[in-house]
Amino acid sequence: MNIIDISPWHLAAGYLLLAIPLGIILWQRLPMLGQTLRAVARMTLQLLFVGFYLQFIFELNDPFLTGAWILIMIGVADISIVSGCRLRMNRLAGGLFLALLAGTIIPLLIFVLLVLQDKGALNAQYVVPISGMILGNCLQADIIGIRTFYESLQKNEKAYLLSLAQGASLKEALHPFVRDACQTALTPTVATISTIGLVSLPGMMTGVILGGGNPMTAIKYQIAIMIAIFAGTAITVILAIRLTTFKNFTTWGTLDRGIFETGRS
C-alpha cells in the first residue's frame, strides 16, 4: 500500500482544526459544547478500539472471527435502531436482527462471490469494510422504515380499523402502511444513487483512490457497492416490517399498544 501514514503527532495537529467549530460554539454560546466534546472523545475511543481490533482481525484473517465481528456489528446496529425508534426493545430486536442479517449478508455474498470473484475477496480486509458499508445503510433505512410504519399506523388507526371492518385480511389492511414505509425508507438511497459523484466523492471511491487504485477501478467498486447497498436496504426494510408484525398485532388484528414506550398518544 502506498498510502501516506499519519503519525500520532500529525494527527494531533489534525485535532487543532477542532478549534474552529469549538470557537464558533463558544462565540455564539451554542448550548452544545459538552455534547461536542463528548462526541469527539467517543469517536476517538471507538475508532481506536476498532483500529486495533481490525488490525488483529486482518492479521489472523480467520473466517469465524470475521463472521463473529460482523455479527457484533449487526447486534450493535439492532440495538441502536430500537433505541432510535423509541419503541419497545423486546418487541422488535429479534425480527430486526434477522432483517439486518439478511440485508447485509445477501448483498455481501453477491458482491464478494459474483462481482469480485477472487479468492482474496474473502479476506477480512474486503469482507469487513464492505459489510460495514451495507450494514450502515441498512441501519438508516430500518430506522426510517420501522418508525414510519408504526407511527403512521398509530396516527391512522381509524382508517386501518375501517379496512379490517370492511373484511380485509391483516396483510391487506397493512398493505398501504407497508408500502408507504418502504417508499419512505428507500427514497434517500435512490436520491443518493442519482446524485453520486456530482455532490460528493463517495467513501468507497475515496478509499480505493487513497489506497492507490486508479479512478476507473474506484468507480467500478463504487457502482457495485451502491447497488449492493440498495439491494440490502430493500431486503432489510421489507423484512424488518414483516418480521416485527407478528409480535405486535393481536390475533384480532389490532395493533398491540405495548410496542410504544409511552403507551397511548
Binding site: 370492511q166 385480511s169 391487506e172 393481536t250
Partner: protein, 204 residues
C-alpha cells in the same frame, strides 16, 4: 337466525333479522365500545358475544367482519378521492365477488342528496356530513347483513338525515344497530336500548 347477544356488565341484547335497534344513554356508558366489540376491536373482559349464533373469537372474527358493515363516528377512510375509497374494499379478497355493486353508486348518491361529481373529490375536502354519507354508502355497497352505525347522523342536515332514514327503512332485510342522540333517528328505530340503565355504566 341472525342474533347478536351482548353482555356488558349484566347487560344483554339480542338482535333480530331486519330489526333497527338504537342504543342510547349518556356519554361514556359504552355505546361505541359495544359496536366496536362486535368487530373485535375491543375484547370484553368477561362474557360472550354471539354473532349469527357463533361465539365471537379471534379466529372467527375475520369471517364475521365480512358479514357486518361499520360506519364510525367522524369516519376516516384514508387518503385519496371518493371513488378510489369506495372501490378499495372490493380489492380485498373477501369482497372481490361484490365488485359489481359499484354500479349502485349513482343511485345511492342521488338518494342521499350527493352530486355525482363528489366521486372525483379528495376525501379531505369533504364536509363532515358528506363524509358520513360517503362512509354509509361504502358500508351499504358491501351488502352486509348487519350495519353498525356510530352517530351516523350527527353531522347531517335535516334533509340529508331524513334521506338516510328513508334509505335504511327501505332496506327491510338489513339489521341495523346504531348509536344516536338524535330524536328523529330514535323515532325511526323499532327497538330502543338505554345503556345507562344497565347495571354498570363504565366503558368495558
Amino acid at each position: 337466525m341472525i342474533a347478536g347477544q351482548n353482555i356488558l356488565s349484566g347487560f344483554s341484547l339480542r338482535l333480530f333479522p331486519g330489526q333497527k335497534t338504537t342504543l342510547i344513554g349518556r356519554s361514556g356508558c359504552g355505546k361505541s365500545t359495544l359496536l366496536r366489540s362486535l368487530l373485535g376491536f375491543v375484547v370484553p373482559e368477561a362474557g360472550t358475544i354471539r354473532v349469527f349464533g357463533m361465539e365471537l373469537s379471534s379466529h372467527l372474527v375475520w369471517k364475521l367482519r365480512t358479514r357486518m358493515a361499520y360506519v364510525a363516528q367522524e369516519p376516516e377512510m384514508g387518503v385519496g378521492n371518493v371513488h378510489d375509497l369506495l372501490v378499495r374494499p372490493f380489492t380485498f379478497k373477501s369482497n372481490r365477488r361484490l365488485h359489481e355493486n359499484m354500479n349502485c353508486v349513482p343511485e345511492l348518491l342521488e338518494r342521499l342528496h350527493l352530486p355525482e361529481s363528489i366521486l372525483g373529490k379528495d376525501v379531505s375536502a369533504l364536509s363532515g356530513g358528506e363524509k358520513q354519507r360517503i362512509a354509509l354508502i361504502s358500508g351499504l355497497l358491501l351488502d352486509r347483513e348487519i350495519l353498525l352505525l356510530d352517530e351516523a347522523s350527527s353531522a347531517l342536515d335535516q334533509a340529508a338525515k331524513l334521506a338516510v332514514i328513508d334509505l335504511l327503512r327501505a332496506s327491510e332485510a338489513l339489521t341495523v344497530l346504531s348509536v344516536s342522540h338524535d330524536q328523529e333517528w330514535i323515532g325511526f328505530s323499532d327497538n330502543l336500548v338505554d345503556l345507562s340503565k344497565s347495571q354498570n355504566c363504565a366503558a368495558a
